[in-house]
Amino acid sequence: MSNHDDGGAHIRVRRYSGSARINHWIVAISFVLLLLSGLSLFHPSLYFLSALFGGGATVRWLHPWIGVVLVVGFLGLFVRFFWQNLPEFTDFVWLARIRHVLTADDHYLPEIGKYNAGQKFVFWSQAVLVTTLFVTGVGLWEPGLAYFEKMLGFKATIDQLRLAAVLHASAAVLAIAIWIIHVYAAIWVRGTISAMTRGTVSGGWGWRHHRKWLRKEVDKGEIERERLTAAE
């Protein structure tokens, strides 16, 4: 992330508030913990991962509770970023030119607002998958299921629970694949990660990847001129 900002004074633009970043990292950390604990029960060759949590029995009760943390955290992100992730015409143009996205030929791409179609895809697919994982996860969570059965007045059949297990595993695999895309994109597009660490991105990053968003921020006057000192 420091590759480009050693050139002296450039503008930096605020992308995420402190609370948004904390919210993001709560979700991120719980996702990684869920991934590790979930995979340990998904495939026998990964069972050794359960040792990170103190054994399979701990995974059995801890995984659902981390899931609850993630669901609450994700709901926060959903509410925060919902409006900026609504689809718009530009998204279809961007998707139609996905080839140029992958080859970083940015001049063929339309000006993008705060999120491009790829980011919106991550947002919406994770929203659907987290919901699926929560509902099916409750089915696999003995005390949780008992609680919801009592509260909602139903009794899940074993066949429904089998289906829940299949859906939970499938949704988890998709969520992990999309998470890999999310992490990879943040690494590939250099200068992105500072948005979630320091909360700001360089003006050049905004110009290159989210020019429509940058123009809006500039119009609002919400930029900071940064004198890069040795301390940075």
Binding site: G7, F42, V166, W188, R190, G204, W207
Partner: protein, 312 residues
């Protein structure tokens, strides 16, 4: 009368089977022994059962289980369902036979069937928590059980129960500890009418044939052996007077087999899932190798500075 299993000698003897006789171990790959032990089986002759529950009591006693005192809701089933402390249960059904007009009292001793193809074991994610011995006994190994309840989803007979006290799964062991020293299961020992007999699987099938012939001679022309092929046969079998409709015996599965959902989840699903995750990660790596980093250029920074320069 079937010759009962003899009492053991008072000399201590080495167990007849153990770790070396495992043919399946949950979440593990093992090499089964070259020589398979003679398969054992318990035969439950429903037509001879008088519903005395001696088997239930013997099970509690031998396995040192303590069932809670229940509530009578007007049926004979007690407790109302299998529990972590009740590994076997008499299930009573009043069946009105449409052919004869008779009211028949069907009493089935429910419990683990010790499938040749055990769904519980296939679903279990914890290495060695469920094992199958070469004599056919499917056993839960408490120390390795993590209490996840996957065995409950895997079982085609709805047998395992998870204890709320210690979060472990429980079911009938076929008294593997007794069989290991040449004894029959406790329930069989206690049965006063030989409705439960125990021996090798071949002996049990032969004995069942005799019983079925007898039942047929008494007008139960649909009498037969319940040894469902969908799970590769079982090591607990029933003689049913109405073998054409097992479901009338308190919902005994007509054609039990491991649910296709469980097979998908634990079979192709595991490999497909790993492949999807692996391929996505590989696609990222390859893309980065071919494409290199997507860096912001100095011109980008200057354009941004210029854009912002117009504003104070």
């Amino acid at each position: 009368m079937f010759p009962p299993v003899r009492n053991p000698s008072t000399q201590s003897a080495a167990p007849k089977f153990g770790e070396k006789d495992l043919i399946r171990r949950s979440a593990s790959t093992i090499t089964p022994p070259a020589q398979r032990q003679t398969e054992v089986a318990k035969l439950i002759d429903v037509s001879k059962c008088i519903g005395c529950k001696a088997c239930q009591t013997a099970c509690l006693e031998w396995n040192q289980l303590h069932e809670e005192v229940g509530v009578n809701v007007g049926v004979y089933d007690n407790p109302h369902d299998l529990t972590p402390a009740s590994w076997t249960l008499m299930r009573y059904t009043e069946y009105e036979n449409p052919a004869s007009g008779n009211l028949e009292w069907l009493i089935r001793k429910d419990g683990c069937m010790h499938c040749e193809d055990p769904g519980c074991l296939k679903a279990c994610p914890s290495p060695g928590a469920i094992v199958q011995y070469s004599n056919g006994i499917v056993d839960f190994v408490k120390e390795n059980c993590i209490g996840c309840g996957y065995c409950v989803k895997g079982c085609p007979f709805n047998i395992p129960r998870i204890s709320k006290a210690d979060h472990k799964a429980y079911k009938c062991t076929l008294c593997s500890d007794r069989v290991a020293v040449g004894q029959g299961p406790a329930c069989q020992k206690a049965c006063p009418t030989q409705a439960i007999v125990f021996g090798t699987k071949d002996e049990m099938k032969q004995w069942a044939d005799k019983r079925i012939t007898d039942l047929k001679s008494r007008g139960f022309d649909k009498a037969g052996l319940y040894d469902p092929p969908g799970v590769g046969g079982t090591h607990v079998m029933y003689v049913l007077h109405h073998a054409d409709k097992p479901h009338i015996y308190a919902g005994l599965a007509d054609n039990p087999k491991i649910s296709p959902l469980v097979e998908a989840w634990k079979g192709v699903g595991k490999y497909a899932g790993m492949a999807v995750i692996g391929l996505t990660a590989a696609a990222g790596l390859i893309h980065h190798m071919l494409q290199g980093a997507n860096r912001v250029s100095e011109e980008d920074e200057e354009s941004a500075d210029k854009l912002a320069g117009g504003k104070p």
